[in-house]
């Protein structure tokens, strides 16, 4: 098995035989005897090229949508560009060159101009100019550019692929493609994304792969040549899962999470890293219901600075474009440890010095994070959520610190945004005093993993306890019901962000309890939406 890495354009899996695309270089005769003949040949070739592009445009509209087909309209306009035509005419008329030579030279010159611009997007336009020029040259020289497609679907491996080549390929046969050149901004890449074709660019390709079985793993940015049976099996499962998700997406994207009798709730997604936001958007979640901020701390060697955190929160808020982002403040301790915190070893870490307890003792750590969140809130819709709460005092203290941070930032002339304030309900204590807590905050998010562990007094890390563990234990479900009732009594919305939220055998139960929001892994959003839309609470 050979593994080659590249840069993935689409998170997806493609499995199939490689077809190595060798482009036949057009043979160009440089000089020509009669400029008038060459000019006429150019005119004819250009007309035919426009005709071909129109056909590609029509095909792309169907396969990738009008927005992305527009590039072929631009290509047609480029072919009609005065400067481009003037340059070709000039070369034919004054240098006694052939039409093919004139087009190729002009195309190269224009491509160079784009390639030298200091804008990544415009640089990528060089490929478009080359693409249209090659098309005309191939018509003029009669070069064959078609791929012999055969009957079997294939993975294309090539030096580079022009947008027109990508669209030209029979989509039912094209499993994916791998190129050595190309950029993520190229129209080829954009088309691949919109046609849902797994693709890798910047890969060291080899002609020897031709005809061999391969897997493009878009999740790990690599291609496996002659993979093991085991790997084929694993990744094929992933591929099938992707297909199901995509089918769900097609069916459910932009649809509300509403039951047959009209109860609508929010379905948000949980993330642990900025890189997860793509999955959140892809799966059409209504917001981020739990942003586990501790990854910033766990991936760091020292305490992350305000600026570092601000940049991350701001980016997430902006990427979500006005959709809600609930940031949970530092939840470190217990099983999540970072050396530089110098936390002492404990007998009972799950019941120990962790989360809000650290933050309320070490204000400097807490304030750094809160300042970053308040500043990021100026760039999107941000909520803040405190974990591991057991008393009203803690919430009041945390809110005081937040207010203090806000005043300080304003005094420093920094831009701050409004944040909605909420807490995690994950201790039995917080459930019992939920009514008092609800007066302090705007929302509750139930962390069912910890709530179950603390309610049942069962350590989930211990497999020996599995026979005793019941995730649907009535005690836990009553805790959830009590929390929802207490919250609603005091105008506080209530959500679930633990694993139970994605347990579709409980969705109806939660909806009947009056849950307002469920936050689940990005991959579970659409499945959950499907279940919600099939429920009828009036029965």
């Amino acid at each position: 098995m050979i593994v080659a890495t590249g840069k993935s354009i689409l998170k997806g899996i493609a499995i199939g035989k490689v077809k190595f695309l060798k482009k036949t270089q057009a043979v160009i005769t440089d000089s020509a005897a009669d400029p008038a003949v060459e000019l006429q040949r150019f005119e004819d070739a250009k007309a035919l090229a426009v005709e071909q592009l129109q056909a590609l445009y029509d095909k792309a509209v169907v396969e990738a949508g009008e927005d992305h087909a527009a590039i072929f309209e631009i290509h047609m306009m480029m072919l009609d560009d005065d400067d481009y035509i003037d340059s070709i005419t000039e070369i034919i008329n004054t240098q006694g060159k052939s039409a093919a030579y004139a087009v190729k030279t002009t195309g190269e010159n224009f491509a160079e101009t784009f390639a030298s611009m200091d804008d990544e997007y415009m640089k990528a336009r060089a490929a478009d100019v080359r693409d249209i020029s090659t098309r005309v040259v191939n018509i003029l020289t009669g070069a064959d550019t078609g791929v012999d497609e055969g009957d079997e679907p294939f993975i294309i491996v090539a030096e580079d692929l022009a947008p027109s080549e990508t669209v030209q390929l029979d989509k039912s046969k094209l499993l994916g493609f791998v190129t050595r050149l190309g950029s993520a901004n190229s129209h080829t890449a954009i088309l691949a994304r919109n046609m849902n074709i797994p693709a890798l660019i910047g890969t060291e390709i080899s002609e020897e792969w031709d005809g061999k079985l391969a897997i493009i793993d878009g999740y790990n940015d690599c291609i496996y040549i002659e993979p093991t049976d085991e790997l084929v099996e694993t990744l094929d499962k992933k591929r099938v899962y992707d297909l199901q998700q995509r089918a769900l997406l097609k069916e459910l994207k932009k649809k509300p999470n509403i039951t047959l009798d009209g109860t609508e709730i929010n379905v948000y997604a949980n993330i642990g890293n900025v890189s997860d936001v793509g999955m959140v958007l892809q799966n059409d979640a209504g917001g981020i219901g739990l942003f586990r901020s501790e990854f910033i701390y766990l991936h760091s060697e020292t305490f992350p600075t305000e600026e570092e955190q601000f940049a991350i929160y701001k980016r997430v808020a902006e990427m979500m474009g006005g959709k809600k982002v609930i940031i949970r403040t530092l939840d470190i301790g217990a099983d999540k440890q970072a050396d530089y915190f110098n936390l002492p070893k404990e007998e009972n870490p799950a019941l120990g010095y962790r989360a809000i307890r650290i933050c309320l003792m070490q204000h400097d750590i807490f304030k750094t994070q809160i300042r970053a969140i308040l500043r990021a809130a100026a760039f999107g819709k941000v909520s803040i959520m405190f974990p591991m709460i057991i008393s009203v005092r803690e919430v009041k203290d945390a809110k005081d610190i937040l207010e203090q941070c806000r005043q300080e930032l304003i005094a420093e002339g920094k831009q701050v945004g409004e944040v909605e304030i909420g807490i995690m309900i994950e201790t039995p204590a917080s459930v019992m005093i939920a009514e008092e807590l609800a007066e302090e905050v705007e929302f509750f998010s139930i962390g069912t993993n910890d709530l179950t562990q603390y309610t049942l007094a069962i350590d989930r890390q211990n497999p020996k306890l599995d026979p005793f563990y019941d995730s649907h234990h009535p005690a836990v479900l009553r805790m959830i019901r009590k929390t929802i009732e207490a919250g609603h009594k005091h105008d506080c919305w209530v959500g679930i962000c633990g694993e139970l939220g994605a347990d579709t055998s409980l969705t109806e139960t939660f909806l009947r309890m009056g849950i307002d929001e469920l936050s689940v892994n990005p991959g579970s959003v659409l499945g959950l939406r499907k279940v919600i839309r099939s429920l009828d609470l009036s029965k």
């Binding site: 309209e73 560009d81 784009f114 478009d128 100019v129």
Partner: protein, 85 residues
């Protein structure tokens, strides 16, 4: 001669697609239409030259229109900038 200044607010600037639509919008008029950014001036009918200017969000450009139908052209083109760019 008609002239107006405009600051680009479209986050992507005058990229391929907006450039294409702009060129199309200008084509029907007889008047000469030119766009200037800094020291560089190009004909608004020339797609590649226009793209080559690399006009970005926040850039201020001057558009000059001169010819028999300059009044209508100026009005239409300025409206186009405001609505699309």
């Amino acid at each position: 001669m008609k002239q107006f200044s405009y600051t680009i607010t479209d986050p992507v600037g005058i990229h391929a697609r907006p450039a294409g639509i702009l060129v199309k919008a200008v084509k029907p008029f007889e008047s000469s239409c030119k766009i200037t950014k800094g020291e560089k001036t190009v004909d608004l009918r020339k797609l590649m030259a226009l793209m080559g200017m690399g006009i970005k969000c926040g850039d201020t450009v001057d558009v000059t229109i001169e010819g028999p139908d300059e009044d209508v052209a100026a009005e239409t083109i300025e409206k186009f900038f405001k609505e699309n760019l």
